[in-house]
Symmetry: C2
Subunit: 141 residues, 2 copies
């Protein structure tokens, strides 16, 4: 999660909402990315989507079996479904997102998806939340 937080901070420096994601296979990081919506002018360029693409290219496979994903924020419905499609084993996320989250909030994607990862939320929650709050506070000022 430390590396995902670093990715979130880097996204913040690019002016993007600070969310970071890391994919791990057998204790080895195979992909890491931050949110690039603003940089790419693409609303689908969430950290998780970019990270899943990177991991698949790394393994040359569209299925990320036995892989875990660490994300600093509860994934939205788009990213939750992507995690399901990629057959990721475990999802660890930091801050909860009552507005845009799609895992334990909103449409709760995994209650309906064919593949559901193990889910652990609230990891480094305070730090992950603070990074987001600071970003939005700075933008309001």
């Amino acid at each position: 999660m430390k590396l995902a937080i670093e990715e979130a901070k880097k996204a913040s420096l690019r002016g993007s909402v600070p969310v970071g994601a890391v994919i791990v296979l057998q204790d080895k990081v195979i992909a890491s990315a931050g949110n690039e919506v603003l940089k790419n002018a693409d609303p689908t360029a969430h950290a998780e989507i970019i990270c899943i693409g990177m991991a698949c290219r790394h393994l040359n496979c569209s299925i990320l079996k036995h892989c875990d994903i660490y994300v600093t924020l509860e994934p939205c419905a788009m990213c939750a479904q992507a995690i399901s499609l990629a057959r990721i084993s475990r999802l660890y996320f930091g801050a909860y997102d009552s507005k845009y989250g799609g895992v334990v909030h909103g449409c709760r994607v995994f209650n309906y998806s064919l593949h559901k990862p193990e889910i652990v939320g609230g990891i480094s929650e305070t730090l992950c939340t603070e990074i987001l709050q600071n970003f939005f506070k700075d933008r309001r000022n």
Copy 2:
């Protein structure tokens, strides 16, 4: 929808599940793509995700206001949320998808999303369904 169907047929020739998508702004096609999951070895490479990325690059903007999307199959939760994030005005889709769909099936993303497009399903439904059925029939043989 005719062009989306052509994209679906091209995807089929590449060995990918035949789904196509087209994005239109003021009667002008600004993006069209087919499913490239297999070609790209990326489970997020659905026709809608690729098409939204193309349209955003075309307009150099992460918001596709006043744009409409035509898809040959009911979008899954990932693509439905992407359509919402892109603020697409209208979603026209062909075949219904009771197994993987996330619009009128499954987690019904737009019941929870901040932006909900106008939705019309069942356009050229028979043809869109046939293309999919033929693809899976051929793979079983």
